[in-house]
Amino acid sequence: MSKVKTGIGRRSFIKSVSVASGGLIIGFNWMACKGPAEEGGEELAMQMPDEWFELNGYLKIGDNGIVTIYSPNPEIGQNVKTSMPMIVAEELDVDWNNVVVEQAPLNTEVFTRQLAGGSQSIRQGWQSLRTAGATARQMLLTAAANKWEVPVSELSVENGVIKHTGSDKTIGYGEIAKAAVDVEIPEEVELKENDSFKIIGTSRKNVDAKKIVTGQPLYGLDTHKDGMLIAMVVQPPAFGMEFKSMDSDKVKEMPGITDVFTIDTYPEDMEKEWSDVAAFSKLVVLVGESTWQVMQAKKELKVEWDLNPELTKQMEILEKSAGMEDASGLESSSIHASLMADVGSKKSEVVRKDGDPEKAFKNAAKVIERSYTCPFLAHNCMEPMNFFADVSGEKAELYGPIQTPEYAEKSINKRLGLDLENIDIQMTRMGGGFGRRLYGHFLVEAAVISQKMGKPIKLVYTREDDMTNGVYRPAYHITYRAALDGSNNLTGFHVNSGGIPESPLFANRFPAGAVDNYLAESWTLNSNISVGAFRAPRSNFIAGAEQSFLDELAEEIGKDPIQFRLDMLKRAKKDPVGEENDYDAARYAGVLELVREKSGWENGSSSVSRGVSAYYCHNSYVAQILDMSVEGNKPIIDKVTCAVDCGIVVNPDAAKNMVEGGTIDGIGHALYSEMTFKEGKPQQSNFDNYRLIRHKEAPKIVDVHFVDNGIDPTGLGEPPFPPVQGALANALYKATGKRFYNQPFINQLQTVDTKLKT
């Protein structure tokens, strides 16, 4: 067992979490410890205890041995609501069947980093979750030792039952919990050895699954509070425009409508957090009694919009410099493409240089140059943006889907001037995050509206509002060049990447470190279209582009694509170029070797078109091999084999679900999805014109394998999403004989005369 200091702060382990107090009642009272037995029959009828004893901010024990564990982080579908409590339960040493999980509210005194983003929840929570469980276990053991007047060293515990070695004394956690509350928090506790894990590393069902499949209220959009009104926004129709005037008299008379006005979410002088990103700060707001009534009123409202000179001026200059005649400052996708290709790449700056790349390219026997692009993407969480706010006097109660509650709290403090202690944020389960709900502008909007109305407000975005509201994944452009000498050795590697408005470059990632002469350059182009983090930011494009380019190189050189990468990784491990290489070459090679083995790559079948790809991002390594065929111009994805190195896998089946999902998501976006613009206006606003992958298009099989190495766990929310896009492009090449450089690939598939492989 390893010992750790509990010194996260004595207070953090004593202070109890007030869950039900100050908590909102929504249509159901799910905060009031309703056991599964009451909600419709678990196999195990769980009896709720008469009394609860809080041992620390993470858990409380009932007098009958039932344990409530609080899941600290926001739940967006990555299932930390199951795996984080599993880690606590492991060290606490209780039977998982006796555990009830509740979502913790925002509580910065007890929890650090209550944030969903960056695939960090397990990685950054690993130590503190284990310590919380181990500390409580130690207190319970001490209480039993005191009761029996024996040394703690003579006690053992398993599944919530404490035994005394040498006598037949036993006592359950439920009976001793009350006494344990008074035990002094130990300064040091012992954590279990990995090989004695009984919960971690076993598959456990999603703690909310029963509620999900029976339609119980769970999501922000499901919130109900008596007296609540519905609010909706009307935003400018194009990026670069702003509110001018409106005629709301008629709409105010419509049935159920309470008020129509404008708000400014983020005034100029407000001190903003990084998460205070909004495409449109000034919005029109309609408030009414029911969602349908407000939706109808929205349609009838007459609003006049104007060009926003601040936003459009810069774009106008840029457009003029690119030779556009009627430059208005409103952007169209057609100019984005040419701006990136012609203007952007010419203003690049060197980010990393190893050796003498200029010489390598000058002396090259062969230079291969390829460019790749991708469009803007909308996040399109299935649950549209929404939030509930009840601001009255000096207090704010906020309830809804937010990935960054701690920052949102600060925003409310700054925007409304309320003290942090009087701001209560509770997180609902989210119908998807993908990075969209990092930016809590909708939370601030709801609070501003509630304060103005003096009423509880549920703010609801329609799908159209949601999809045209910006915060998009940026458009990117990348050009790779490779220099080969007379013997087909890779002597130089040059990446020049940029985007609107950020570059996707990671200069220190592979193949940096594996090539003697390496040059990485970067550029950006301004835009008035708002962007934000989208699942695996930047990696979500560059991985696929890079892995497609490596595939072309391997073919040019005449090497098997996997062997080509392994050879480079071998060099990077033995004799790395430069010092700042942001990957572990051995682990990177490990996933390639595992995927090669599990896919039967070397017994290659000629009837299957296969593409391989591997990438490292957000601390985990993923390699995928995608098998497909093309029927007519329709891609059929038969199978994706995945090899993943994320260290210890806390909940194997749930981890597989994440890899399956990230894989399908990556394929879907690379193949089908794009946001385009005409004069600043998004051309897609709902699922009839924005295409997402569906049942018929999904891979038939996703086969997932994990590397078993006992390393401390890293995340899975993002890592499987980027590399599969390269595997897809490489498989498409095998299937059609054509290379695919511009996402979404369906555009090319549907127009190009593709040659079917027989």
Binding site: V213, M382, M430, G661
Partner: protein, 154 residues
């Protein structure tokens, strides 16, 4: 505003709403039955799927004036204790990630199995193609439908 009678999950109910109000919003806002979800409002995502006289229908495009006097089953009424074979299969395969689309998926799947108890992969894909899962649980959904089908045949 007008009064409408409707049978939902076996109960006769009466609501007083604008006749154009889609059944989706009658359920969510007026009856406080939030299991049926809003995803798009134009019958493109399937999150709002209910059974209308036994058939799967998108409630976001079904005005109360058309839904009235018919039998509606929502996710809340698919079974007494969450033990419909489709729900049980969903739990066995631990299908959901974010979970938001799943009520609609389950309603589409249960309607499919009622009319095609032993569907082929292609029949499943075709029947379910109107239900989007943004998190990508499609392979699990298909496996769960097959399990539910097997359990009903057995």
């Amino acid at each position: 505003m007008a009064e409408f009678s409707i049978t939902i999950n076996g109960k006769n109910l009466s609501v007083d709403v604008d006749p154009t109000t889609p059944l989706l919003w009658v359920l969510r806002d007026h009856l406080k039955m939030v299991g049926t979800k809003y995803g798009c409002g134009i019958a493109q995502c399937g999150a709002c799927t209910v059974h209308f006289n036994g058939s799967a229908v998108r409630s976001c495009q079904l005005p109360i004036s058309s839904a009235a006097d018919n039998e509606i089953t929502t996710i809340e009424g698919l079974s007494e204790n969450g033990d419909h074979p489709v729900q049980k299969a969903w739990l066995e395969h631990d299908v959901p990630q974010c979970g938001y689309c799943q009520a609609g998926q389950i309603m589409s799947a249960s309607a499919l199995l009622k009319r095609t108890p032993n569907p082929s992969d292609e029949e499943i894909e075709n029947a379910m193609n109107g239900n989007i899962c943004r998190c990508g649980t499609y392979t699990r959904i298909k496996a769960a439908i097959k399990t539910a089908s097997d359990s009903q045949i057995a």
